[in-house]
Amino acid sequence: MKRVFTKPDRWKMFFRQFPKELEKLGLQSLPIVVIISVFIGFIMTMQTKLNSSNPLLPVYTTGLVTRDTLLLEFSSTILCLILAGKVGSNIASEIGTMRITEQIDALEIMGVNSANYLILPKIVAFVVMMPFLVIFSMALGLTGGYFVGILTNILTTGDYLSGIRYAFVPYYVFYSVIKSMYFAFIISSVAAYYGYYSYGGALDVGKSSTNAVVNGSVLILFFNILITKLMLN
């Protein structure tokens, strides 16, 4: 950890790696974020509507439930669990392969702080990129919910829009973004740890990758409770 968070040997090399990591870990995650968010928006709206047909419930219930679910948990926690699989395995297998093919030893022999050079740009890039992914996911989920409501004729535009505007708490967005940044740190650092300390062959890199995803996911769930307790109580 100490070797990762030190001043880079050359800032020029850090800033060369940083945009590459933004693209690889952030932009390349967009397709999965789009698909999952839109479909969760669809299903959230449909399920809420189908299970709240009581006439005593106000018309804005569906929009309200969809919005709060997306804002509070889906676009931060569930999205991060999914990204723990995609990004976590990517980081662990990339660094693990570099370890077993002696590329990390080559960096060390050159006098490069390999942990800092390889891991720091990944952690910083993913933490920086995560708020954008989360806000994008929120917007897509709400849009998906709106379209499924209209297209399947289970909701009117007015009902849905009044629901997503009703009793809106802007702090929820802030809470979600902050939470997701912690999760981004957990995903990237846990994966980098397992990758960096890989040894053996291809099978062992696979094991490191699996361990990175499993342990990263468990830590996300654990920290979700902790952060929720701290930020919402």
């Binding site: 040997d9 093919t101 002696e102 030893d105 080559a106 022999i109 050159m110 006098g111």
Partner: protein, 252 residues
């Protein structure tokens, strides 16, 4: 010159290196030879500092490696080049970028000067120009070794380490790589240490040979002396094949 003095190294109860002392001379191809499991790789990794030794001294021209702090070790390593068994080229970079990497990391020259230096090193190892823009996976094993040598000499190292440089290469390419290492060593006055169990290399370029047997330095000499040694373990190892037995008999 690198001096290894009374080095001991254990992994748990496995005592791998036992009071090993050796001198790796400047401007010579120094070879560490020995059977698999004899401790030669541990010796080389200990000399480089990838393994922390239990006892003894490893002096790089008087500077004792085990006494150095990590920051000092990193500075020393900028004087070190290494050729790995599997080449260890960065697969996300092109051939030219691989050779430029140590320059970009540590040299304080302009970009053009770095490119010139990288191209000079690639030309020195006789790599065709059309391969400069290719990825390591797109060139042959022999070419990968040449790129690795070019990268290792890019920063004009004082010390060059080669771990099994001929592993996975055909005999002709092995000979070319051996000659290249030998030429580079003499041309730039480098202290070169080669870890090998390729007897062709030993006979061809072994100017200072250290034979490790069961963690102990069992013999030290050169490729001419090796024909006249009565060390049983060394003879069993070096002249194991019928061909080399005939070569030995012809030389005696």
């Amino acid at each position: 010159m690198i001096e290894v003095k009374n080095v001991d190294k254990s992994f748990g109860s496995n005592h791998v290196l036992k009071n090993v002392s050796a001198i790796f001379e400047t401007g010579k191809t120094n070879m560490i030879i020995g059977a698999s499991g004899s401790g030669k790789t541990v010796l080389m990794k200990s000399v480089i500092g990838l393994h922390r030794i239990d006892k003894g001294r490893i002096e790089y021209d008087g500077r004792n490696l085990p006494d150095m702090r990590m920051s000092e070790v990193r500075i020393l390593r900028r004087e070190v080049g290494m050729l790995f068994q599997g080449s260890a080229l960065f697969d996300s970079n092109t051939v030219l970028e691989n050779v430029m990497y140590p320059l970009e990391m540590f040299a304080s020259t302009t970009k053009d000067e770095m490119v010139d230096r990288a191209v000079f090193c690639l030309k020195r190892v006789n790599l065709p120009e059309k391969s400069y823009k290719l990825a390591p996976s797109e060139i042959s094993g022999g070419m990968q070794k040449r790129v690795a040598i070019a990268r290792a000499i890019a920063l004009q190292p004082t010390y060059l380490f080669c771990d099994e440089p001929n592993s996975g290469l055909d005999p002709k390419t092995s000979l070319i790589i051996d000659q290249l290492i030998h030429e580079v060593t003499h041309e730039f006055g480098i202290t070169t240490v080669i870890n090998s169990h390729d007897m062709n290399s030993v006979m061809e370029i072994g100017e200072n040979i250290i034979f490790i047997d069961k963690g102990v330095k069992a013999w030290q000499g050169n490729n001419k002396d090796i024909f006249h040694v009565d060390n049983e373990a060394l003879n069993d190892f070096v002249f194991a094949s019928e061909l080399f037995k005939k070569v030995k008999n012809a030389n005696q």
